[in-house]
């Protein structure tokens, strides 16, 4: 799809380096606004999220749910059996979902007249990106080169025994046992899926709790659920070393304990793809490898913007979408409202799920001093009882003010984050939500009940 004429004249409104969540969202929005766009992608449009991230992991987690459901059928009076997991079949299903969405995305890019340039791009000036000897000029450039799986110093990922998430997603078997290094979102999601498939999992996390970026109550409840699921985890336990042996790995953690397993999954975070792409040469300021930006996502080089995982902050696909859309609208002169990073919803799709938006209790105390907290236990929520899930909804409110944090743990609570997101971002008061009695029996009813309780009007309230 390379347009050979580009070196010899065409100037695009926008040249975007990287066709992942951030890059393609910017491209789609800019095209809708009538801009001409060149989108440079060396691999496949859709990027990490579509091909090696959000979508395949969630397909895996849904297959895991199917397995759990069959294993636990008797609890519901249904005689089901789980005979096994056919990873070939899971991968086929997973790839089918990815392919369908990939085709849809390609169709969208085409339909909106976006020029997709295949190849590895390099920033060569504030207005040019070079791809395979051809220079593409844009009135503006957006950097959206994304991120890659990081490791720890001295810990080499061999893709066989010591693997990263991209390898874990293409395994042709269910490992018998696994050590997951890192108790953040990605680590916890794989630990959950593998456990459902029958793997014996141990999570090793250096920080004192699982999902350490979440409210401490979320960590506590997730840890309780994982304990019940027999997922072993060692928090506050730094990794020391790994030895690859014949049948797997021997992982040594702080204190000297050695854990044997078939594979070690390294899920210690993702580093920005910003080295060797010409950024520094053109003067784009970096901070520990990340591209620093102002409130409009402009880099230190006027006219050059950055979106997605290369920008410090939450590494989430929909943050990339939002940033991409923001820059496209900003460049079109629409003056979009700056993005409140805390207003971006966060979901961990493990069993149980963890979902949050806004500030944790700790952050809210730091910001507002006095806060009010309301914990609504899902034990009082009919639908959650029907699903046999435990968990809670926690609301954090600035004293006499708006709801500034919503935190949830439980099966399927990730879907409640849409409502929570409106409450946080629209700065609603408990009294705004309280009169809107929620549909019975749903899980979102728990959000309603929590707001009723926080507004001083508890209905089905249980401590």
């Amino acid at each position: 799809m390379t347009n050979p004429a580009d070196s010899s004249g065409t100037t695009y409104d926008l040249v975007i380096l990287g066709g992942g969540s951030g890059g393609y969202a910017a491209a789609l929005r800019a095209a809708t606004l009538g801009k001409s766009v060149a989108l440079v992608e060396k691999d496949k449009v859709g990027g990490t999220c579509l091909h090696r991230g959000c979508i395949p992991t969630k397909a895996l987690l849904h297959a895991a749910e199917v397995a759990d459901s069959a294993r636990d059928g008797e609890q519901f009076g249904v005689r089901t059996t789980l005979e096994g997991v056919d990873m070939g079949g899971v991968n086929k299903y997973k790839d089918g979902v990815v392919d369908r969405l990939f085709k849809g995305l390609q169709g969208q890019l085409k339909a909106r007249g976006i020029t997709v340039i295949e190849g590895e791009g390099r920033l060569t000036s504030p207005t040019t990106v070079e791809v395979g000897g051809t220079t593409y000029t844009g009135r503006n450039v957006i950097l959206a080169s994304g991120s890659h799986s990081r490791s720890l110093p001295g810990l080499e990922i061999d893709g066989q025994h010591v693997i990263a998430s991209e390898h874990a997603l293409t395994l042709d078997r269910v490992p018998e046992s696994a050590v997951v290094l890192g108790g953040g979102v990605i680590g916890v999601e794989f630990a959950s899926a593998w456990t459902s498939f029958g793997t014996k999992v141990t999570i090793v996390e250096a920080l004192p709790r699982l999902v350490p970026a979440e409210d401490a109550d979320c960590s506590k409840t997730l840890e309780r659920a994982f304990r019940k699921r027999k997922i072993a985890f060692k928090t506050g336990t730094p990794f020391e070393s790994v030895k690859v042996v014949d049948n797997g790995v021997q992982v040594t953690v702080a204190g000297g304990e050695v854990i044997e397993a078939e594979v070690l999954l390294v899920a210690v975070g993702r580093g920005p793809n910003t080295a060797g792409l010409g950024f520094e040469e053109v003067g784009v300021a970096l901070d520990r490898g990340f591209v620093t930006v102002d409130a409009t996502l402009q880099t230190s080089v006027p006219g050059v913007y950055a979106v997605g995982d290369i920008v410090p902050g939450l590494q989430l696909a929909h943050r990339g979408f939002q940033q991409g859309i923001f820059v496209a609208e900003h460049l079109a002169g629409l003056a979009p409202t700056p993005i409140d990073e805390a207003g971006i919803p966060r979901v961990t799709y493990s069993e149980p799920e963890v979902a949050s938006v806004g500030l944790t209790e700790e952050q809210a105390r730091a910001k507002y001093g006095e806060v009010e907290i309301l914990n609504y236990n899902l034990g009082g929520n009919g639908k959650s009882q029907i699903l046999k899930t435990a968990g809670f909804v926690k609301l954090v409110r600035a004293k006499d003010g708006a709801v500034v944090g919503l935190h949830m743990v439980g099966s399927r609570v990730g879907e409640l984050i849409g409502e929570a997101q409106l409450i946080y971002n629209w700065e609603a008061y408990p009294a705004d939500v309280a009169p809107l009695v929620h549909a019975h029996p749903t899980q979102n009813e728990a959000l309603g009940e929590a707001h009723l309780a926080l507004a001083g009007k508890p209905l089905h309230f249980h401590d």
Partner: protein
């Protein structure tokens, strides 16, 4: 109208719960002076308007 259309872009004058609050209180948002960023009417603006209504229609 709580949402004004101009310049091809939609400018929201107040967040939905605040518009709803104003409506429930019988307040015309057009009569409330905005103090929020970008000319947005805040909850405090609406509440302040209730406490100290602008010059009465009759004199």
């Amino acid at each position: 109208e709580p949402v004004a259309v101009g310049n091809g872009s939609v400018h929201v004058l107040a967040k939905p719960p605040v518009r709803k609050l104003a409506k429930d209180l019988g307040i015309d948002l057009g009569a409330v002076a905005p103090t929020g960023p970008g000319g947005v009417i805040t909850r405090a603006d609406v509440e302040g308007h209730v406490a100290a209504p602008a010059a009465p229609a009759y004199e």
